[in-house]
């Protein structure tokens, strides 16, 4: 029997509002564990988790690893460089070989959209999507939701604007799904060349000028300008981007209310966000990182497979 989230966490699009709230509520007590002197609970003792990272990642990989270790799971990291992936082994073969070594969960980061789902349909272990191409990055979406909720309270009717390179951003997609399900109003702001054509169909407002977004929003989620994906000339230059769409203190000072500043990292200071904003009083960027560990612990906990046939036996003796 699958847990309350099902077998896998592939994205926020397939989750209900109640399931999202369950993860956020569960993350709250997990945050406290990271503040203890002994930052470890025995919950996932004996479970083996493989972190399968086909793309570079520091924050997400380490955050997952902390979450796994603080729940006492055993972890193995597999990066594409230095593994048989670089010898041409397919994704499914890699995963099946790992599964033959008796693992319980796979956390996967992959450059191709849909890679996590592809894997989830082919192996028995729980699969957690840690970012697939430009599709989704559900745990980032969840930690953004948790951070926003901690600072703004109930998100119903709150106005969140996603600023920047929405086209290449899986973070943007997970944010839009999650925020709209929790009843927030969502807008995007960026050059048209960096917004998906079908953005209107996702039920979001589009601002062409950042000044309009500043006027409107309670919070900004500022996306990284993905330089490694930018060879194709989406914008004239980084300096011009900063001049037109950069989140600067001068712009935020014109806002009718304090705007909470989120950024999934890594930041390009002086491009999409200025240092005095990133380090300013309304920035919750490091809070996001702390919440990331708690949210991932909650997801691991909720996905970890229970064996219901044994549960009946346990219940007969349970208090």
């Amino acid at each position: 029997m699958p847990g309350p989230l099902g077998k896998d966490l592939l994205g926020l699009a397939p989750l209900s509002a109640d399931q999202i709230r369950l993860v956020l509520d569960t993350a709250v007590p997990f945050r406290e564990i990271s503040e203890r002197a002994i930052k470890k609970v025995p919950t996932l003792r004996g479970a083996t988790i493989v972190n399968l990272f086909f793309e570079a990642s520091t924050r997400t990989r380490i955050s997952f690893e902390f979450a796994e270790k603080r729940l006492s799971a055993d972890t193995v990291n597999v990066a594409s460089a230095g593994s048989s992936v670089s010898k041409g082994e397919t994704l499914v073969d890699t995963a099946r070989n790992l599964e033959a070594m008796k693992i319980d969960m796979v956390v996967i980061r992959h450059g191709a959209s849909g890679a996590a789902q592809f894997l989830a349909e082919r192996i028995e272990s729980n699969v957690i999507n840690a970012g697939d191409g430009t599709n989704e990055h559900p745990t980032q979406g969840l930690l953004d939701l948790l951070t926003l909720r901690n600072h703004l309270g109930d998100l119903t009717g709150r106005r969140i604007c996603i600023v920047g390179d929405v086209l290449h951003s899986r973070v943007a997609r997970s944010n839009i799904w999650g925020l709209t399900k929790l009843g927030a109003e969502v807008a995007v702001c960026g050059p048209r060349s960096l917004l998906p054509n079908a953005i209107g169909e996702m039920g979001v407002t589009v601002f062409d000028r950042i000044e309009e977004a500043v006027e409107w929003a309670d919070a900004f989620n500022v996306l990284r300008l993905q330089l490694e994906r930018m060879q194709a000339g989406y914008i004239p230059s980084l300096r011009e981007y900063n001049r037109v769409y950069g989140v600067t203190r001068a712009r935020l000072e014109k806002a009718p209310r304090d705007i909470l500043i989120l950024h999934p990292g890594p930041m390009n200071r002086g491009v999409e966000i200025d240092s005095d904003v990133a380090d300013g009083p309304h920035s919750v960027i490091l809070d996001q990182v702390t919440n990331g560990v708690a949210v991932r612990m909650a997801v691991l906990y909720l996905l970890a497979g229970g064996k219901p046939e044994l549960a009946d036996v346990a219940k007969k003796g349970g208090a």
Partner: protein, 163 residues
């Protein structure tokens, strides 16, 4: 029960009450109030959620909801009294002992329960017992307390399908 706890620890020095989520927490707070009224001293009380320390997590179906643990002070060299509503198999207390060990090294740990219903599966006993009752395994003990349920009551009910 408050008297017995004070007596057991030969006073209130370094005494700390830790209630187990959920109803143990409110019971612990009540005992703190009674001791305050009688002895005039403030005793710390905290909350412990043992969900993450359960020994049956690999077997239970839908994940149990995790509550909060609040132990804002060090437990080193304290005299800790665990407070819970019902003592049955002893597995909850075992989990609580494990969790407390991660917070420090108390001078001593005692156990106070409102109801001892028998049926232990582990070598664990309570030091302070509100009431001892013999209950068949097929029956359930429900404790209701004012703060959470709007009334103070203990019911012994026949188990319909699950506890």
């Amino acid at each position: 029960m408050a008297d017995q706890i004070v007596e057991l620890n030969a006073g209130t020095d370094n005494l700390v009450l830790v209630g187990i989520q959920r109803r143990g927490v409110q019971l612990a707070e009540r005992i703190v109030r009674i001791i305050k009224a009688q002895e005039g001293v403030d005793i710390s009380s905290g909350a412990l959620d043992i969900t993450l320390y359960r020994d049956d997590l690999q077997t239970v179906g839908p994940r149990p909801v995790v509550g909060t643990t609040q132990l804002p002070w060090t437990l080193d060299d304290q005299r800790v009294v665990i407070v819970d509503d019902v003592l049955y198999t002893g597995r909850t207390v075992r989990a609580a002992l494990d969790e407390l060990a991660d917070f420090g090294r108390p001078a001593r740990i005692a156990l106070a329960v409102l109801i001892d219903r028998g049926g232990r599966e582990l070598p664990i006993h309570a030091d302070v017992i509100g009431r001892k009752v013999e209950v068949h395994p097929g029956q359930r003990v429900d404790v209701f307390i004012e703060e959470l349920d709007g009334r103070d009551e203990v019911l012994i009910a026949t188990r319909d399908d699950e506890g």
